[in-house]
């Protein structure tokens, strides 16, 4: 038996186990939503606490993945390796300072306020320019549908600024009508169909039909 076969035959790697785990967890949470059975409620509560633990492990894995990639780039001097080294250094210092002194550690606070706190709004404002440029290109009179969308958008935009009322005092009722009878039904219809889609996706997970997302191959294709 080759090494690959040995790994794939391990019961921990069996696709049935992954599907069964997903199905059982979904079934417990679903039953608990509709019927209150003390044992099931307790189990559902445990399961939901485990979600947080699993997510935390996911964070560790995420850091390990990025550290591995950055370290490889640094050792091979590949791409912008010096930026990768700065990212890795900052991440390590942030984690260590938080582990040692908690959220009030001066180094952690410094990084949070002076690096992350400044960097995030900077990126946000940069994106503003990209968004304007992209929106200008997207909202062109290319077809009838886009023209209608553009007209509605202009009306709502003018309604939300004081200038709109100055240009045309009748803008408020028109814009409110559009919001109440155009936007609301449309978005509710979309929301309802999306919810039905999500329910049936849950059903496919529950019954083990949704295998592609777990990376489980089907025998027949």
């Amino acid at each position: 038996m080759s090494k690959t076969e040995a790994v794939s035959s391990s019961w921990l790697r069996r696709s049935e186990l992954v599907v069964a785990l997903g199905s059982v967890c979904t079934a417990i949470l679903l039953i608990n939503y509709y019927i209150k059975i003390p044992g099931i409620t307790q189990l559902a509560s445990y399961l939901e606490e485990w979600v947080i633990v699993v997510m935390d492990f996911g964070l560790i894995l995420g850091f390990a993945s990025i550290a591995q990639r950055n370290a490889r780039n640094m050792t091979k001097r590949r791409g912008e390796w010096w930026l990768d080294s700065v990212a890795l250094l900052v991440a390590t210092v942030t984690i260590l300072s938080n582990l040692i002194g908690g959220r009030n550690h001066p180094i952690f606070t410094f990084i949070n306020v002076n690096l992350r706190g400044v960097g995030t709004p900077t990126m946000l404002s940069m994106h503003g320019f990209f968004c304007i440029s992209a929106a200008l290109r997207a909202f062109k009179f290319k077809s009838l549908q886009i023209t209608v969308a553009l007209g509605a958008m202009m009306l709502i935009m003018l309604y939300n600024v004081p200038l709109g009322e100055v240009i045309w005092p009748g803008i408020a009722p028109v814009a409110e009508w559009l919001i109440d009878y155009g936007f609301s039904p449309g978005s509710r219809a979309l929301l309802m169909t999306t919810s039905v889609g999500a329910i049936f996706l849950g059903f496919r997970v529950l019954t083990g039909m949704e295998r592609e997302a777990y990376g489980i191959r089907r025998e027949k294709r």
Binding site: V51, V54, A134, V196, R204, A213, R218
Partner: protein, 261 residues
């Protein structure tokens, strides 16, 4: 998250819970019936979504040009967003298989660390199925940032520096639609995006070449396998929507007649 779900169930009136439960059971039973019929040969016809043609065209174009395809899994797999990330992973399996078959390089970026393991499994499966072991490099599976704007910035950077010609973004694509479309324009990328998240969905419709909007994202995830039982759930889903559509005028009439609901 746990308490939110429990509180929601406790706050919902019993008759609403009962209606929800019956709705669920009825349509799940219908799914099983249609799946059974499909196994007997009556496979339901499901219309092919145009975005699938877009994905195939994009991958073929990238393979011809020798340029990579960028695949973006947006969103954190928690709460309401979870199903979108699951659908994005399903679509990734389709995109990865097509890419490896066409010998096209694929770069996958994900927003949440939890997605890492699942994405890796999906890619490993696709490699085993279609490609050779060297068709995907570990460095092409990249974590970006949980912050959507930073995730978008990293996506823009990757499209630019790796000279991608196809940009496929699935999941909770909302604030990154327009920044990514800017990168697509600058680089000549074909943009295919899919999201069931309501915010910015209009921008997604306007700024992309092909898209999966709303429920189409979940339907696309189911259509990938082309299995009779999975297609049966899609047909059942259509019946559920028809039922809701029929229910709306009935409820309106009932309300107009003064029936308390």
């Amino acid at each position: 998250m746990s308490n939110k779900l429990i509180v929601l169930a406790e706050q919902t009136p019993t008759h609403e819970l009962l209606f929800g439960g019956l709705f669920l059971i009825a349509f799940l039973a219908l799914s099983l019936y249609i799946a059974d019929q499909a196994k007997k040969g009556k496979v339901p016809y499901i219309r092919r979504l145009p975005a699938f043609d877009g994905i195939e065209l994009t991958i073929d174009r990238c393979a011809e040009l020798g340029k990579p395809v960028y695949y973006d899994i947006s969103g954190l797999p928690r709460g309401d967003i979870g199903p979108m990330v699951v659908a994005a992973l399903s679509i990734l399996s389709y995109v990865a298989r097509r890419c490896f078959k066409s010998k096209c390089r694929l770069i996958v970026a994900y927003q949440s660390p939890e997605t890492s393991v699942m994405a890796r499994e999906v890619l490993n499966s696709a490699i085993q199925e279609e490609g050779d072991p060297n068709s995907f490099q570990d460095r092409d599976l990249r974590f970006t940032d949980t912050n959507t704007f930073l995730h978008a910035a990293k996506g823009m950077e990757m499209v630019e520096t790796e000279d991608c010609r196809g940009n496929i973004a699935m999941g909770q694509v909302f604030l990154n639609v327009l920044p990514l479309s800017e990168a697509n324009k600058a680089n000549g990328c074909v943009a295919i995006q899919g999201s069931a998240y309501m915010t910015q969905i209009h921008a997604l419709g306007l700024a992309t070449d092909y898209n999966f909007i709303g429920e189409e994202l979940y339907a696309a995830a189911a259509m990938i396998s082309r299995d009779a039982d999975t297609l049966a759930t899609l047909r059942s889903q259509d019946f559920a929507k028809l039922f809701i559509v029929a229910l709306i005028p009935c409820m309106a009439i009932a309300l107009a007649l003064g029936v308390s609901l």
